[in-house]
């Protein structure tokens, strides 16, 4: 216990922990706090502009075909490869392939398409700093023979031609082309779920976890890497290597200290949010415990895995490599996140997303996957800690010095 307390104190006094603490607080107040400006009531819920995705092929196909035809006419396609906007302009060969896709999905041939282009008006759409030319196309007739399955296949080919991340990615078609506002009755149903099933606080707990999960999937690696490399940096490693303590106990004590200390600012934010919820919903009984439960299940595996990977990669390579690897993994996870930003939960989703106080049913639809992913990443974290124990034991016995890419011990340096 004494060692655990000492390790916690060491972490508290480190600069990286202070930065971590500040980052969590900043994320909380800049992203989550505005959601608590005013309480959700049956009269204010309309302002949340809740939408539903019908996912009906009859809605998706004509809208998607109109959109694609307009882009084909201007040869300007909006894409978001890795989440970053890119206006794609195809060469004539590839644009002809798009034309072939359109003619297969519609009942128009190439000449008729040209006539439609001539008859369509042009507008300019501003996307960020880019101004894109856009043809306003409506009512491109669908081929009578086309099925929705074949339509999705062709749109998949279109997305491939465009290099991925386009509006026509088959999995995004429903979100992009079948979104419509909820009716008043549907909005009230959402409100009932918010009040009766989520007991207010659980909905806030999910939103809280959504925002904090973004940074907790990556920044704990900085704190972990700093802790692991502090021994070497301060020339303390041989003093520690020569002690009686087992590598297993030392590494797990440090891991536990890392997780506990990094949970503290999250708990603090949770406590502030809880107080605010209690204040906003005076007279109601928000399920604060339920909110902490969902946030704990959601965020603890994130912190554990990021900390464990930070320890393992720092021990195996270096702190810089740990940060690089975790940041790359985080970036990939973020880029793989598709729209909409609610119910984005799969069996192996590391960064779960549910960026709304509502759509509880969407979240619950994936709840078993959510629990699976949390158990999976907790197990992965423990496995990474065990690997850290193994590497640490090798290092302290002089059997392994870590893998270096630079300096005198670089693996690229010829050894004599």
């Amino acid at each position: 216990m004494m060692l655990f307390i000492r390790e916690c104190k060491k972490i508290f006094h480190s600069l990286t922990f202070i930065i971590y603490f500040a980052a969590v607080i900043l994320m909380f107040f800049t992203q989550f706090w505005p959601a608590m400006d005013e309480p959700v009531t049956s009269s204010t819920i309309d302002s949340y502009e809740l939408a539903k995705i019908s996912g009906e092929p009859e809605t998706i196909m004509p809208k998607a075909l109109d959109s694609l035809t307009g882009c084909y006419f201007s040869n300007t396609y909006r894409c978001y490869p890795y989440g970053l906007f890119k206006a794609v302009h195809l060469n004539s060969r590839d644009n002809d392939k798009i034309r072939d896709c359109i003619t297969e999905m519609s009942s128009l041939n190439a000449d008729e398409l040209e006539e439609l282009k001539a008859a369509s008006s042009i507008s300019h759409v501003k996307v960020g700093t880019n101004e894109l030319e856009s043809y306003n196309v409506k009512g491109v007739p669908l081929s009578e023979d086309i099925t929705y399955e074949r339509f999705r296949e062709i749109m998949g080919e279109v997305d491939d031609i465009l290099g991925g991340g386009s509006d026509y990615r088959p999995d995004d078609l429903a979100y992009k082309f079948s979104q419509e506002p909820m009716t008043h009755e549907e909005i009230l149903e959402q409100y009932d779920e918010f009040m009766e099933k989520d007991h207010i606080a659980i909905a806030y707990g999910r939103l809280f976890s959504d925002y904090l999960g973004i940074i907790l999937a990556v920044i704990p690696v900085f704190v972990a890497a700093a802790l692991v490399t502090a021994d070497k940096r301060t020339k303390m490693n041989e003093l520690i290597y020569s002690r009686r303590i087992s590598s297993f106990r030392l590494v797990f004590t440090r891991f536990a200290a890392l997780v506990l200390t990094m949970v503290i600012p999250v708990l603090l934010c949770g406590a502030i949010a809880s107080a605010r919820i209690m204040y906003m919903y005076k007279g109601s009984t928000p399920d604060i415990a339920g909110a902490f439960e969902v946030s704990g299940k959601w965020l603890l595996p994130d912190i554990m895995l990021a900390a464990a990977m930070g320890m393992f990669i720092s021990e195996l390579f270096s702190a810089g490599m740990a940060i690089l690897v975790q940041f790359a993994a985080w970036f990939m996870c973020m880029m793989m996140t598709s729209m909409p930003l609610y119910g984005h939960i799969g069996r192996f989703t590391f960064i779960c997303r549910h960026n709304s106080l509502f759509y509880r049913s969407e979240f619950m639809k994936h709840y078993s996957d959510f629990i699976f992913s949390r158990i999976f990443y907790t197990a992965a974290a423990l496995a990474a800690v065990l690997l850290t124990v193994f590497v640490y034991e090798l290092k302290r016995g002089g059997k392994f010095n870590g893998i270096m890419f630079f300096g005198k011990d670089s693996i690229f340096r010829h050894k004599t």
Partner: protein, 298 residues
């Protein structure tokens, strides 16, 4: 318990480069000096005994426990590396408590032990100071304190006096002698004066080999008849240094009184045999073992 370290036929390699050659040593209770030039292999041997390095072949037992049982070795050994520091933001007593906890000490015992050990190394007044605020000598004493915190049977100190001023060095040597009363203390150094002041048993290492092992007086006896003093005109000094091992010089006006180690009587008009000191005996040992030292070099 068998308070002895036995090293038999130990060889160690760094990659393809051999660092220790067939080392055989027996170290008993008290101060043991391991003397050698920088790069002689002393640190490698120290780390191997402390279970921080792997040997290629041979055997080492520490108080009856083979070195392969690293946990046991670490429990009974205190180690002070040559180049060490501690978390600068920790206070002196906190650093000791932390390292004591890593040695498996109970919290209740540790507080008392830290107070005792700080008193022993004369750092009681610095117990609330941060490690970063300690002087070089204080840090070295703190180093000894951390190595002794768990009351080990074996203390291994590697070049502990390097960079200390004379007063701190004497204080440090006395401290080592005190703690060696009831345990094995291995002092590795290239400073002959440290060994002379503290050790009875010594070994001399060079290029990964043990050149000589015995008592300080035996080493000095070996050099009797090979150490001379002579008065030499200053202008002949460069030539003299090329031909002989010069272990001391006192310059007075035109003449320099030199102390020379030589196999035979030097070809100098006023050379007289003199009593060897440990420094000269050490140089004679290196010279007679065929090690390349000043005087042998062309």
């Amino acid at each position: 318990m068998n308070k002895m370290i036995e090293i038999k036929n130990v060889n160690k390699f760094y990659g393809r480069k051999q660092a220790l050659y067939d080392i055989n040593l027996t170290i008993e209770k008290g101060m043991f000096g391991l003397l050698g030039r920088n790069g002689a292999g002393k640190t490698t041997l120290m780390k191997t005994i402390a279970a921080l390095h792997q040997k290629k072949s041979g055997s080492i037992t520490v108080c009856g426990a083979p070195i392969e049982r690293a946990g046991e070795i670490r429990a009974m050994t205190g180690y002070l590396p040559q180049d060490f520091s501690m978390y600068p933001s920790m206070k002196t007593d906190e650093a000791l408590e932390y390292l004591g906890a890593l040695s498996g000490m109970k919290a209740a015992d540790l507080r008392e032990r830290v107070t005792d050990i700080l008193h022993k190394v004369n750092l009681t007044e610095q117990r609330s100071k941060k490690v970063a605020q300690l002087s070089g000598g204080m840090k070295r004493r703190l180093g000894i304190a951390q190595a002794l915190i768990h009351d080990p049977q074996v203390l291994i100190v590697d070049e502990p006096t390097a960079g200390l001023d004379p007063e701190e060095r004497i204080r440090f040597r006395n401290l080592l002698c005190e703690v060696a009363e009831d345990r094995i203390v291995i002092l590795s150094t290239h400073i002959v004066g440290d060994v002379e002041a503290t050790c009875e048993q010594i070994a001399i290492m060079d290029e990964g080999k043990i050149l000589w092992q015995g008592t300080v007086s035996q080493l000095i006896n070996n050099a009797i008849g090979h150490v001379y003093t002579a008065n030499v005109e200053r202008r002949f000094m460069p030539q003299l240094k090329k031909e002989y091992i010069v272990t001391g010089m006192i310059t007075q006006a035109e003449y320099t009184t030199v102390r020379i180690v030589s196999d035979s009587e030097p070809d100098l008009p006023n050379a007289v045999l003199t009593e060897p000191d440990l420094e000269a005996a050490y140089m004679y040992c290196l010279h007679s073992s065929g090690c390349g030292i000043k005087g042998d070099e062309e």
